[in-house]
């Protein structure tokens, strides 16, 4: 299921960013292919909607393409892109919650992955989807995107302590799935 492009070495990525800034479309495509999978999956895990996840990841790359000139090539590209994806995914998830037009009972079913019957590790995905957005987002940003506590705190505009407590609560809720796999 995992169809990820091979990870780029930091030096290669820097060379690609430099080339893309100078107009090399092939270099930009290499960056896109290397990071698309993770961006799409992170967005999907947060919003749990394929179409919305596609929009989020797509917009992140469109934003990145337009902002390449302003990107400081001495900094790593991946965290910059991850931050764009994370912000958009969380904004989209919050907007979904604000736009709810049905009762709370119906909302509870939103997390159910009815449209994706063949996904592996389904129990883990369901458990993650059942977490409140605040905890789900922190778990995804930390464990899938590899963001540090400070980065997550900046994206969510939260104190570090709050990020840590949400992460702990989220992992506590997922623990039965993780331990079951370990046994």
């Amino acid at each position: 299921v995992l169809r990820a492009a091979p990870p780029l070495r930091r030096r290669d990525e820097r060379a690609l960013v430099r080339a893309a800034q100078e107009g090399d479309a092939a270099a930009f495509e290499a960056l896109f292919r290397a990071h698309w999978g993770m961006a799409y999956r992170a967005a999907w895990l947060i919003v749990r909607d394929r179409q919305l996840a596609e929009d989020i990841a797509q917009e992140a790359f469109v934003t990145a393409a337009g902002a390449l000139d302003r990107f400081d090539r001495r900094r790593p590209f991946a965290p910059w892109l991850r931050t764009i994806v994370a912000r958009r995914a969380i904004d989209a998830a919050r907007a979904l919650a604000v736009r709810r037009e049905v009762g709370e009972d119906a909302l509870a079913a939103l997390g159910a992955p009815a449209a994706d019957p063949d996904l592996p590790d389904r129990q883990l995905l369901d458990a993650l989807a059942a977490l409140p957005l605040e905890q789900r987002a922190v778990v995804v940003l930390r464990h899938l995107l590899g963001m540090r506590t400070g980065e997550i705190a900046a994206v969510l505009d939260l104190p570090r302590g709050t990020v840590n407590s949400r992460l702990r609560r989220g992992l506590d809720a997922l623990r039965p799935m993780l331990e079951e796999r370990g046994r």
Partner: protein, 317 residues
């Protein structure tokens, strides 16, 4: 990535069609950005060209040029004084139809007039094959050979970093350094084998079909080895801290370049001439002119010191 991260990455769905749609939009945004910043990009490309030009001049001074012809126009005659305060600009001429191999920003690219650069792959250094049909690229622990259309023909991985890649003039072998060793591999990528211990980055194949390689075996010994038999043809004592070895086009002279001395040897390893740098300067690199009767040398410090041409009284016996 944590175990949980790996499980999430494996479990989350993938959507190649979404990826393709997103790429088309991202690419369109990329093209729009180019159009917006066209004037700025033009200025950047001009600056980049200047960097490439400087790299070419240096490359011409320190390496065998392969199929690339770079003509240094320098009005410096033998025995003339060091460069004046306002040196004349040099011209670099790209021959029509030729391809230029450029390593810049960690990537190897082929450049030719009137066409966009063709990117080959990540590279620390690169060299053309003897007849210019392939490019050997060293990057990290890998040695990779590309065809000119960018197709990867073969690659091998060593335990330590690969560098000092030299393609033999008959096209049959490639010499390269890795760790404390000098290794040889067939041009087809087969039979990688160790020739012996080596040091530094100085190595040069003797022109001709006899597969003789000169390389720095120790800091004070340059070995001339018949690679076909593995036997030493000669051993010579190079200048201190030798950084470049270069053969004359007829294979009758070997030039060893250290910062404080150029030393010329005949094909049997006898020293026939030495030259020191002008007062207060050192040699950074040197190589033979295509006809073999002149040697271009670069003096350090590089800034404000263009290449000058040095003509030994005799380079041929």
């Amino acid at each position: 990535m944590s175990e949980l991260g790996r499980r999430l990455a494996s479990a989350a769905p993938d959507d190649p069609a979404a990826e393709q749609r997103a790429w088309e939009l991202a690419h369109a945004a990329f093209v729009r950005r180019l159009a917006r910043s066209d004037r700025r990009a033009t200025r950047r490309r001009m600056a980049g060209l200047a960097v490439v030009t400087a790299a070419l001049v240096l490359a011409a001074a320190i390496t065998s040029a392969g199929s690339v012809v770079v003509q240094l126009v320098a009005d410096r005659m033998p025995g003339s004084a060091p460069p004046a305060q306002t040196p004349k600009p040099q011209r670099v001429t790209f021959p029509a139809g030729g391809k230029l191999l450029v390593v810049r920003g960690g990537w190897a690219s082929l450049v030719r007039r009137g066409a966009p650069p063709r990117r080959l792959g990540p590279a620390d250094e690169a060299t053309f094959s003897a007849f210019g049909r392939y490019v050997a690229v060293a990057h990290g622990r890998r040695l990779t050979v590309y065809a000119l259309d960018g197709r990867r023909v073969w690659w091998l991985a060593e335990r330590q970093r690969v560098h000092t890649v030299r393609w033999a003039p008959d096209g049959l072998r490639i010499a390269y350094r890795t760790g404390p060793l000098l290794r040889i591999v067939d041009g087809s990528g087969e039979r990688p084998r160790t020739l012996g211990a080596a040091t530094g980055r100085a190595a040069a194949w003797r022109p001709g079909a006899d597969a003789v390689l000169a390389y720095l075996r120790t800091p004070s010994v340059v070995a001339l080895v018949d690679v076909a038999t593995g036997e030493d043809v000669a051993r010579v004592r190079p200048p201190a801290r030798t950084r470049t070895l270069a053969w004359s086009p007829d294979g009758r002279r070997l030039l060893a370049v250290g910062p404080h001395e150029l030393r010329l040897f005949d094909r049997h390893g006898r020293s026939v001439r030495t030259e020191g740098p002008p007062a207060g300067q050192t040699f950074a690199a040197a190589t033979f002119a295509p006809h073999g009767h002149r040697i271009a040398r670069r003096l350090a410090p590089l800034r404000g010191s263009p290449p000058v041409v040095w003509q030994p009284s005799r380079t041929a016996p």
